[in-house]
Amino acid sequence: MGTGSSDSETKALVDPLVMQQIGQLELMSRVVVDGFLAGKHRSTHKGGCCEFAQHRPYAPGDEFSRIDWNVYARSDRYFIRQFEEETNLQAFLALDTSGSMRFGMSTKTKYEFAQIAAACLSRFLLHQRDAVGLAVLTEPAPISVPPRRHASHLRSLLYTLLAHKAVGAGELATQIKAFVPRMKRRGLLIVFSDCFGNVDELCNAFRLVRARGHDLIVFQVLAPEEANFDFRRWSAFHSLENQRDRVRLDPAAVRDAYLRNLQRHVEMLQESITGIGGDYVRITTDQELGAVLAHFLRSRKARQARAGSHAGRVVVS
């Protein structure tokens, strides 16, 4: 794994243009994540002294060292100082390697597009001192790279990305369910997939991710041909996941029904993901990746800032 990939190939994954557009942005987890190191994310571990949060009355059992003696001097009462403690993010990038991700006619394949997106996000997260792990959702069991926060970890992530190809059939929901237990700490799961398959099972898997307290971002990657299905001539479509699946039809004749089915699928998926508090991004491979990611990060940060003013901060004393 990873031995066959050269440095040039791995560098090619981190698109400088993409990095230029998203480099100044921060991926902030909207939920509290557990981290080992102080970072930009709020930690569930209270008691650090990085940022003052509030005072509370002293209660028996509190450490004397946490009493704010200045307040005591002014008010003759004991108050305990509480601080917000910042921690680093533990993010997992999960790539769907089912055969359908191999599709690409006028653009890169969906898998190549997802590889680049994952590589750029990895680079970005490591740059902001977050721990980044990788999950290759493949049969029979997902392959994961544990999260690390040092910069040299990027290389192993990229090697792993390049070492796998999109091939064969695969149930994304099953693989996500199998992978989720490996995320020991609460963190961020970023999924790159076309999200084809049973939408109910897929939503159940995402619901499980959220139930374990992980933040969830789903990038649904589609090819433009899949999105508009603008074929004119009679064609024989054969499945990229199962060679025995082959249909001959007049594309123009089934375009209506096809697009309705696809529309219904993506709407259910989007509704389900956003309904459980995850982020859903639908992206086609003919789009400019940097612009999409930059917009996503900006809008996420803006929403996080607004959410911070409404939601109560988690403080530690």
């Binding site: 054969h238 004749a253 029904a257």
Partner: protein, 767 residues
């Protein structure tokens, strides 16, 4: 059902073209590796039956449209009985208005009876039929260029036109008229063409020995696309007891004469009756003015008498001269004949004399000039011919302007310069006359090389050698009876002329091998050899004579006939340059004038009609030309508004004066001939009404194309009514795509919370 253009039905397999293209397009499908199979498979099962139905309906529309187009091009006709239609008849009435129909019997003319028959034929047609009308004399002429629909106005107008038909002075052209009626374009609205020939059944109208015309007519009838029925009406019983005297021919001895010169007119009076004529008076008219009346002696039945009248004109001009008989017979139209003569002051000609320095009688031109009365110009009492010669030397020919002369006479040919030969050749090509007398100074080799030129030169014969008198015994004389030629018509009159006494002692022998079988010979010799030949060269004429026009080799110039010969042959040679005023029917009228100020003229025809002519510049002359001379009689060409009228006469066929009608047996033969032709086409078939339906097919084609457009629009709308799945807008919040969030948080948003509030609450719940 029948088709007018059956060949288009060969394209019927093209009807399957839409289906072939459809299935061929399906077969050449494209292999597409595909990821989203789950949606595709589902979509395939959802493909609506109505949509398939529309597609097949569209294919069917296209196939039917092609079928309609092919059928429309094939022009189908369906039996009229399918739609209850009746047979529609196209009747063509041919009225014989030849001169013979003008005969009077019991106070009424035969043409009047025929007109009544024609009118009753027209009035008997059904309202849904049509009628065309044609007169057949002198040539077939449509009185109604387009078919006349049978209604009250149409019948009345047509009958009025028929009433105005007048007899001509010509025969009828019945078979070509029937042929023209047969060859009319077939109007598919009609199922039967009925050709009704209304004729007086004159014998000359139905030539018995004209088998090629009958065969041609029969072929055309058999090839016709419509059933044709020919009917002849107006037959009357053959009646040989007719009384008719006619002027069969009137002609002058010369058409161009000199002023004050005497011209002789010969009128051939023919008694076409079975009884002798009595007390007939012939009146001679000049330009509408009675000049003289003479009595015609009794003429035996079926006999001919020639009247001769001499006249002179004291002024130059073109005169019409008519001979009219005062006789009470059945056909007054043929009791007169007209001819035209032209009186001129002089006709310039050239005499080429190579005997320079000789005495008068030894000069080549001496006897020719003497024959033209030009030896003593200062003596006005001496007779002078209209031909005014100018004597020139052979060396002058090359540099002269010959256009002002009508003819060139070379009495004793000697070698000419090549340039002179060219000039003379061009002169003859333009209509000039050339008379060559061969003599002892003629170089045989030079003549054969320059004048015969292997048959392309001026001479129609090659010369062999000079035949001396000693070579032949007994003595050789001119034989005036060897050939009959217009130029020798007077020479053969042995009672008055002595041409048969002219001894020829030497002559130039013509090469027999070079003489064509149809060579025109003017004079011969008693030994059977040829003395003078002539040919047309370009627009002019050339006479080559084996002896010179001088007192050498023969005593021709000493004979009385020599003067007549000079006059007649020069008249013959100068004729092409003169405008012909006596024409045969159909011969082109051609008038050349040096007065270039007259650019328009009006031609009045014998029937009173007038046509306008425009003169065309031709060199330094104005030329008026027309071919509308089919009718016999006197034509008058009025130049501009000057009132000056130039007469032209078109000869009448004397055969039309024969009033004999076809016998009953012959009538039956003609009827049977037409009947057999009709039965040849439809022996077992009765004409049936057919209706063309290609108009309906074309309308159907338009309807099918419109339906195809509608179906195409519907299918296209159905195909592209659903837009593509759009990616998340990069310019709007990606994760908060309105639809899902609103669906997932609809209730809470309804409570006044923003989606972000919902997310924050969820975070707190998670914590």
């Amino acid at each position: 059902m029948s088709f007018l253009s059956m060949a288009f039905l060969l394209a019927t397999p093209l009807v399957t073209l839409p289906f072939i293209l459809h299935f061929w397009d399906r077969r050449r499908d494209v292999e597409v590796p595909w990821g989203a199979m789950q949606f595709l498979q589902t979509a395939q099962t959802q493909q609506s039956h109505s949509r398939r139905l529309r597609e097949w309906l569209q294919l069917l529309c296209r196939a039917l449209a092609l079928a309609a187009l092919i059928l429309a091009l094939a022009r189908p006709l369906i039996p009229g009985a399918w739609l209850g239609a009746k047979i529609r008849t196209e009747t063509v009435v041919l009225l014989d208005n030849s001169m013979s129909t003008a005969r009077l019997r019991h106070g009424s003319s035969r043409l009047g009876q025929l007109i009544e028959l024609a009118k009753s034929t027209v009035q008997a047609q059904s309202p849904h039929d049509s009628v065309r009308f044609m007169t057949v004399s002198p040539k077939p002429n449509w009185l109604t260029p387009v078919p006349v629909q049978i209604d009250s106005d149409g019948v009345r107008d047509l009958c009025n036109k028929i009433d105005q038909v007048a007899p001509t002075q010509d025969g009828s052209d019945l078979l070509p008229g029937v042929l023209a009626a047969v060859q009319l374009d077939h109007d598919p609205m009609f199922q039967l063409r009925r050709i009704v020939v209304v004729t007086d059944a004159q014998e000359t109208s139905w030539p018995q020995d004209d088998s090629p015309s009958w065969d041609h007519l029969q072929e055309r009838i058999l090839e016709s696309k419509i059933d044709i029925e020919v009917e002849v009406i107006g037959w009357n019983d053959g009646d040989a007891r007719t009384y008719n005297v006619s002027v069969a021919r009137l002609e002058p001895t010369r058409s161009v004469i000199g002023v004050d010169g005497t011209v002789r007119f010969l009128a051939t009076v023919e008694n076409r009756s079975e009884k002798a004529t009595t007390s007939i008076q012939a009146d001679w008219w000049q330009a509408g003015e009675l000049i003289e009346s003479i009595d015609v002696p009794p003429i035996e039945p079926r006999a001919v008498h020639t009247l001769m009248w001499e006249h002179s004109f004291d002024r130059a001009g073109t005169y019409s001269v008519a001979c009219k008989l005062k006789v009470d017979d059945e056909l007054p139209q043929d009791n007169q004949a007209v001819t035209v003569v032209k009186a001129v002051q002089r006709i310039p000609i050239l005499l080429v004399d190579g005997g320079e320095g000789f005495s008068d009688t030894d000069q080549d031109s001496y006897f020719a000039a003497a024959a033209l009365g030009r030896l003593a110009p200062s003596d006005p009492s001496r007779w002078k011919s209209v031909f005014a010669p100018r004597v020139v030397r052979p060396s002058q020919l090359a540099t002269m302007t010959l256009a002002e002369y009508q003819a060139i006479v070379v009495p004793n040919l000697q070698s000419l310069q090549d340039s002179a030969v060219e000039v003379v050749s061009e002169f003859v090509r333009q209509g000039g006359g050339l008379w060559i007398g061969l003599g002892p100074r003629t170089d045989v080799a030079w003549f054969n090389d320059r004048f015969f030129a292997d048959g392309d030169g001026l001479s129609p014969v090659r010369l062999s050698y000079v035949v001396e008198d000693d070579d032949e015994e007994p003595a050789t004389f001119i034989n005036p009876y060897l050939a009959i030629h217009p130029a020798t018509r007077q020479l053969v009159d042995q009672d008055r002329l002595d041409v048969g006494d002219v001894r020829v002692s030497s002559r130039m022998r013509f090469d027999q091998q070079s003489m064509k079988t149809d060579l025109s010979v003017l004079l011969g010799l008693t030994n059977g050899q040829t003395l003078a030949v002539e040919q047309d060269f370009g627009q002019g004429r050339v006479i080559v004579q084996a002896i010179p026009l001088r007192l050498q080799w023969s005593d021709l110039v000493q004979s009385h006939a020599f003067v007549v010969m000079m006059q007649d042959w020069l008249a013959y040679l100068t004729e092409p340059r003169s405008s012909r005023h006596n024409l045969r029917p159909g011969e082109h009228l051609d008038l050349r004038l040096r007065d270039t100020t007259q650019l328009t003229a009006t031609l009045q025809k014998p029937n009173g009609n007038q046509i306008e002519l425009t003169g065309q510049q031709d060199g330094d002359e104005i030329r008026f030309h027309t071919a509308q001379t089919a009718a016999s009689g006197l034509y008058e060409l009025e130049l501009g508004l000057s009132g000056r009228k130039i007469p032209f006469a078109v000869d009448r066929s004397p055969a039309e004066s024969n009033l004999a009608t076809v016998s009953r047996q012959r009538q039956q033969q003609i009827i049977n001939r037409f009947a057999s032709q009709r039965h040849g086409l439809s022996n077992d078939r009765v004409p049936t009404a057919t209706l063309p339906i290609w108009s309906a097919l074309l309308i159907g084609l338009v309807g099918l194309m419109f339906l195809d457009l509608l179906l195409s629009g519907a299918i296209t709308r159905q195909r592209f009514s659903v837009g593509a799945i759009q990616p998340s807008e990069t310019g709007s919040p990606i994760s908060s795509t309105p639809l899902p969030i609103q669906l997932g948080t609809a209730r809470r948003v309804a409570e006044g919370m923003t989606p972000q509030d919902v997310s924050s609450n969820q975070e707190r719940v998670a914590v």
